[in-house]
Symmetry: C2
Subunit: 128 residues, 2 copies
DNA sequence: CGCAGTGTACTACCTGATATAGTACATATA
DNA sequence: TATATGTACTATATCAGGTAGTACACTGCG
């Protein structure tokens, strides 16, 4: 269901978080869908259940999914944008860093804007 | 000279790399400038010299600065864009992640584009 | 030449995050 | 009750980041 690179330096639980978010944007997951259980996904991906749980907990903290003991884990019906100031600053900083790196790769403003547009389209991110 | 947050989870040497690149874009550092010596900067920032050296080595690997044994470390005269494919992929992925996070903060495409433009202007990144 | 300042290299060690392993408990559903 | 689920907890191993200390090589200058 998700692609995990064991050799990657980025933690598995973060790869999983990223994968869920991308799947949601791309349509592979829809609002209300039931997620695989912690143990099931752990079996599929050959990963320790604790690692799955960690990813699920973080996704729940961010309001993307919802866990119900005894029932399962589900994608939230309405993903509300929670205006977390600290998180906003983080994202802003990450964006800034990416743009600086893009510049040091020799890309100009126009090329960078084109890349951004392409990503937004690819992720089906439209107007508000 | 640079602002380091000891409590940040991002490694000190990466903060330093980021700081040098930003200083260069903003004009705080100019091509040919002499960087503080490893020991001097370590003293100023109350950081181990090895950490400074690690940052300098990475900056040299990226072609931003140049170290001359016995003389010092200098900002390169001409920062050449080296088309490192692996690095390109990294930057592309970092940009993608940042955009996904921005979307989950509730930002629409227009707002994101506005943020990008603001950053590019703030960093004086123009056309090629 | 001798000396100070510089970059560089290396080993050893500590800490925290990551991931795994195992166990146990709570709750919902059939 | 039985099963599947989420949840919690301890213990362990590994690795990256950072620190500490030492040593060596080179440059520039008196």
């Amino acid at each position: 269901m998700f692609h995990i690179d064991q050799r990657s330096s980025t933690p598995i639980y973060q790869q999983l978080i990223q994968g869920v978010k991308e799947a949601l944007l791309r349509g592979g997951l829809r609002f209300g869908d039931k997620m695989p259980s912690v143990r099931e996904l752990a079996g599929q991906l050959a990963i320790n259940p604790n690692t799955i749980q960690k990813a699920y907990q973080e996704l729940e903290r961010q309001g993307v999914i919802e866990s119900l003991r005894g029932r399962g884990t589900f994608v939230c019906q309405h993903i509300e944008a929670h205006a977390d100031l600290a998180r906003q600053a983080e994202v802003n900083e990450a964006l800034r860093k990416a743009l600086i790196e893009a510049h040091y790769l020799g890309l100009g403003a126009e090329q960078i804007m084109a890349m951004v547009k392409e990503h937004l389209h690819d992720l089906s991110i439209g107007g508000e």
